[in-house]
Structure formats: structure tokens, C-alpha cells
């Protein structure tokens, strides 16, 4: 919120001035904003410091001098470019996989009345309640049998399944809200079923697909436990596993470099969020609409 916005906010009240309640409200919001921003500022600030400024007490609140050197130094310590490529492949693959499977399923549950539709919907809800990590052992076992341990495809399949129920849940709410008439008209007009789904429903539900897809992309971008367990070769690491491994090796000594890479890891998802924040919020808020 800009200073100008805030000023108009102060002036533009019905009493023509500030009430105590309003002052308290602004203070509460200000504290929340500071709480949110300080860790992020500190990450970026630390990433711009040279090694001599790391670990000094009291810390320099502003990097002096500020340098991009840690970014270049850290980049050379490992295959960071590869980590990013891996993360993009895995997150995109999982997003496409989950949406491709969840969309027809959500369509069936939202738009058809058939024996078993309610129990099946409840089943999807139940799947949401499984703490995923309890499946680590047998999934690892299964992937080993399929020759998919330590592959990006293995991780993509696991993510697609885990985000399936979540996607069905969200897309279901988007689809139930669509008007019934278009689909009915198409059906009466003798349009083939696959065309009704592909040419009528899909375009209508596009905002829902975007919102759900964004959320899956970000959640899988940030996922750690399964990436850590399934990917073992360094050249297949996702960015989160790469960061954790860097921290394990270099410990507290190279925090500027660690934060340089952390900043790079965070930037894509924050940019994505900044560009599509309405979609994200719509998706999350969609959870409430159930």
C-alpha cells in the first residue's frame, strides 16, 4: 500500500477524522506487514553482502557494500542451473498430469447424476486427509519395482496423484457453478459427448483450471520430503533439495551464497504470484466455498 493510499485512507472516513478503532486497525495491519516483510528483506539483504559482512554483530541492516558477487560464487558451487530445470520439469509435469486427470473426474462428479457419485466424492475428500508421508515406504518400493526411483518421472507421477484429490475438490466447485443450459442445449442438439467436454465445458472452466494449476505448480515447486526421498542423484535434485544440501555442506559459513540461491529459488514463485495473485486467492478462497 502506497503512502498516498494510506493518506487518502486516513482522510476518507465517515467521521472526517480518525477514531481510536481505526488507529488500532492500521497499527495491526502495519505490524502484520512488517512481520511478513522483514524475513524476506533480510534474505535479500544478506544475499547482497560480501563474506566479510556475514556473522558480524551487530549486523549491517543495509548491505554495505552491496554486491552481486555471492550470486556468481554460489552458482559455481553446484549444478544450480540443472536444479532449476529439474524443478521446472517436475512442477510443470505434475501440474499438467494432475489437471489432465482431475478435470474429467471433477466434470463427472459435478455435472452427472449417477449411482455412486456421492460415495466417490466422499472418497476424494477422504484422500485429502491422508498424511502423504506415510506412503513414502511403499511408494518408494513401488517406484523401485517400476524402475522409477531416482527419476523425475517417478516424482511427477507421485505429485500428480497427491494433488489429484485437491484438484478434483477445487475444480468441482468451479464446475458446479456453471450454467446448466449450454451443456443441455448441446446435448439436445446432438453434439458428441467429447465435444461437449472439450468445446463447451473446458473453455468455461478455464479460470478454475488456471487457479488450480497455479496452486499445484507452486506447491510442487516448494515440496521437499518426496523430492528428498525419491531423487538421489545430485543432477536430478529440485531446487529445495539443492538448497538443503548446500546448507548441509557449507553450514553457517556461507550464508550470503545460501541466501543468493534462496532468493533465486523464491523469485519464480513470487513473480508468478504477483502476476496472478487474484487467481491464487480465488483458488484458495475456493476451498471455503465447498
Amino acid at each position: 500500500m502506497s503512502v498516498a493510499d494510506r493518506l487518502t485512507g486516513f482522510l476518507d472516513t465517515d467521521q472526517g477524522g480518525l477514531t481510536l478503532a481505526q488507529v488500532l486497525r492500521y497499527i495491526a495491519v502495519l505490524i502484520a506487514v512488517l512481520f511478513v516483510l522483514i524475513p524476506l528483506y533480510w534474505m535479500v539483504a544478506t544475499s547482497l553482502k560480501d563474506a566479510a559482512q556475514i556473522g558480524v554483530f551487530p549486523p549491517n541492516l543495509v548491505p554495505d557494500p552491496a554486491t552481486l558477487e555471492p550470486y556468481f560464487e554460489a552458482w559455481d558451487t553446484g549444478p544450480w542451473g540443472q536444479y532449476f530445470i529439474n524443478t521446472v520439469i517436475v512442477s510443470s509435469g505434475a501440474t499438467i498430469g494432475a489437471l489432465a486427470i482431475a478435470t474429467p473426474a471433477a466434470y463427472a462428479l459435478a455435472r452427472f447424476d449417477f449411482p455412486g457419485s456421492n460415495p466417490i466424492y466422499l472418497l476424494f475428500m477422504g484422500l485429502l486427509m491422508i498424511p502423504a508421508q506415510i506412503l513414502l515406504i511403499p511408494l518408494y518400493n513401488l517406484l523401485a519395482n517400476l524402475g522409477l526411483v531416482d527419476t523425475r518421472l517417478g516424482l511427477i507421477l507421485v505429485y500428480s496423484t497427491f494433488f489429484l484429490a485437491f484438484s478434483v475438490f477445487l475444480l468441482h466447485s468451479f464446475m458446479t457453478n456453471l450454467p446448466e443450459s449450454l451443456e443441455e442445449a448441446a446435448r439436445i442438439g446432438g453434439v458428441p459427448e467429447w465435444k461437449i467436454f472439450g468445446k463447451v465445458i473446458l473453455p468455461l472452466v478455464k479460470p478454475g483450471l488456471t487457479a488450480t494449476g497455479m496452486l499445484i505448480f507452486v506447491f510442487t515447486w516448494n515440496e521437499f520430503l518426496f523430492a528428498l526421498t525419491i531423487l538421489q542423484s545430485e543432477e536430478l535434485y529440485t531446487i529445495s533439495v539443492g538448497l538443503q544440501s548446500f546448507q548441509g555442506i557449507h553450514g553457517a559459513t556461507m550464508y550470503n551464497q545460501l541466501f543468493a540461491m534462496s532468493t533465486l529459488a523464491t523469485l519464480p514463485v513470487v513473480i508468478l504470484f504477483a502476476l496472478f495473485s487474484d487467481k491464487f486467492i480465488e483458488g484458495i478462497a475456493g476451498l471455503e466455498m465447498q
Binding site: R25, F112, M129, I134, I137, L258, S262, A265, I281, M289
Partner: protein, 307 residues
């Protein structure tokens, strides 16, 4: 269900001959069922079987032997399980209780006309999209002996010597919780804000005219109408308290001397560090049971059949 929805349902029922099964919805569901069968149901059944077995020879693919309920007994008699369970309850205050209250407060403040509402909402949501590993590393650095927090506390004269937050038996778990509160508040705020925005304004107007106090309006109008949103937050919070892993793993690894061990990290150690797969499987089912039972209790207590 709305009247039109019901009508549509009846019309659809009449249009199709009931004796002839409509296969279309099942076909649409087929890919999802295949994925769930292979990557969820099969592993779940496999874990269930494994939880009654002991892996005799080395490795997860090794020879197995039936041991009855011994694995469950081993988990439930493990003092570390109970310590982790206690820690998980404490941890759930960071994952659910504190961010729920903060998120509710912020949602109400932002909902009551503040300029720049949607950008504020987006800003407070940002921590949700920050990778959990990054959040863990950043908070570890802020909480380190020569970190930002110790500097701040020294500067205002609250402490004389730096506190080793992450190496302290008492403070390591609250330190992790601080990061979790940072990450969750915006999440819950957005869900609750969506609930608040759906509330009818004229009810408040009526209450105001009737001279009801703010507290009465909150207690008897806002809270009941927000119930579905709060229920979603509670269920999410319970499941994620049992699911959270990287939060603790990155910041403290469960230490010092298991002071910040939660069920999820302890489970991981049992299964993957000590390679006790049978006990790990039993542990997993106990976790699943907890998630299911607690979620159902939450839903029942709220008296809600809404979800």
C-alpha cells in the same frame, strides 16, 4: 440443493432410460481411479500389510516375517513417540491455533474497509508461496546467536547476551513455530476473508439498529456464519500439523536431544534413518488414524454437514 438443481436432476433422470446405465461419468473418472489405485490404494494396502511384518533381511525388498501387532506395540511403547506426540500438540498451536486467531483478526480488520484491501491481502499471502526450505533457512539465520532477532532484543535492552534459540531445549520448538505462524497466517486469512465477504450486510445493519454490541454481533452473527470457513481451516491445520516435515527438519532436525521432534520427523527417522520399515509402516497407520479421527471429530463438533 437448490430447487433448480433438483429440477435438473429430475429432468436428467427422466431423459435417460433408467434401465440402461450411463457409462459416461465412469469413463471420465477412469483415469483418476487408475492413478489412485496404483499410487495411493496399492501403497496404502502395502503399508497396512507391512505394518504386521518384520523385514528380516537387509533392505526394503528383503524377506519378511509376520509379527502380529508387535510393530504397533513397538511404536506405542516408544517414549520418543509420546514425546513427539506431545510436541505435535504444541506445534499445532503454531500450525493452527495462533495463525487462526491472527488470520481471523486480520481478515476482520481488512474486511472493515481499509484502503488497498486487495494488495494488502496479496502481500500478507506472500509467505504461503515461499518455499518451505527457504523459509526454514531464513528463520534459522534470523534466530542465530548473532542474528537479527538477538540484535533487536539486545538493542532494546531486553537481553544482555544472545540467546541460542535453535539449540535450546525450551526454545527450539517455539522457534520453528514462529516460522510456521509466518507461513500460515496469510493462508488462513484468505480463506476466512472469503467467508467474511459472503456474509450478508443487512444482518449487521439490523443488529446495529437493534443496538447490539460489537461483541454480540461477532459472537452471534459473524462466528456462526463463518463456521464453514473456520472448519476448513481447522481440518487443514490438523492434517498439516501431522504432515509438516521440512519445517522442523530444516531448522532443528528435531533437536536438540529430540526437544523439537514432532510425529512426522520422528516417523521419518524410524523408517528411513533406522531402516525399521515394519515399525515405520505401523507408525504411518497410527498417523493416518489420528488425521482421520481428529478431522471427523472437528467436523462432528462443528455440527456441520456442510462439508
Amino acid at each position: 440443493m437448490s430447487i433448480t438443481g433438483l429440477q435438473n436432476r429430475i429432468v436428467r433422470r427422466l431423459r435417460f432410460d433408467r434401465s440402461e446405465i450411463d457409462w459416461k461419468p465412469y469413463l471420465y473418472l477412469l483415469p483418476a481411479f487408475v492413478m489412485i489405485a496404483v499410487f495411493l490404494a496399492y501403497p496404502l494396502v502395502d503399508t497396512f500389510i507391512l505394518s504386521f511384518q518384520e523385514v528380516v533381511t537387509l533392505g526394503i525388498q528383503g524377506e519378511k516375517r509376520w509379527v502380529g501387532l508387535a510393530n504397533y506395540e513397538a511404536v506405542l511403547t516408544d517414549p520418543l513417540f509420546w514425546r513427539s506426540a506431545k510436541n505435535t500438540i504444541i506445534f499445532s498451536f503454531g500450525m493452527l491455533v495462533i495463525p487462526l486467531f491472527l488470520g481471523l483478526g486480520l481478515a476482520m480488520v481488512i474486511n472493515r474497509g481499509i484502503k488497498g484491501k486487495s494488495s494488502l491481502r496479496a502481500l500478507i499471502f506472500v509467505p504461503v508461496v515461499v518455499p518451505i526450505v527457504v523459509a526454514g533457512i531464513v528463520f534459522s539465520w534470523i534466530l542465530s546467536p548473532n542474528g537479527l532477532l538477538n540484535w533487536g532484543l539486545t538493542a532494546v535492552g531486553l537481553i544482555e547476551r544472545p540467546i541460542r534459540f535453535l539449540n535450546s531445549i525450551e526454545l527450539s520448538l517455539p522457534s520453528v513455530m514462529l516460522m510456521v505462524v509466518w507461513k500460515r497466517t496469510g493462508y488462513y486469512m484468505v480463506i476466512l476473508l472469503a467467508g467474511l465477504q459472503g456474509l450478508p450486510n443487512d444482518v449487521y445493519e439490523a443488529a446495529k439498529i437493534m443496538g447490539k454490541s460489537r461483541w454480540a454481533m461477532f459472537r452471534y452473527i459473524t462466528l456462526p456464519l463463518l463456521k464453514p470457513a473456520i472448519l476448513i481451516v481447522v481440518v487443514l491445520g490438523i492434517i498439516d500439523s501431522l504432515r509438516a516435515f521440512a519445517h522442523v527438519y530444516v531448522m532443528t532436525g528435531g533437536g536438540p536431544s529430540n526437544a523439537s521432534e514432532i510425529l512426522s520427523t520422528h516417523f521419518y527417522k524410524v523408517a528411513f534413518s533406522y531402516f525399521n520399515f515394519g515399525k515405520g509402516a505401523a507408525y504411518g497407520f497410527i498417523l493416518f488414524g489420528m488425521a482421520l479421527v481428529l478431522s471427523v471429530i472437528a467436523i462432528k463438533l462443528s455440527g456441520g454437514s456442510e462439508i
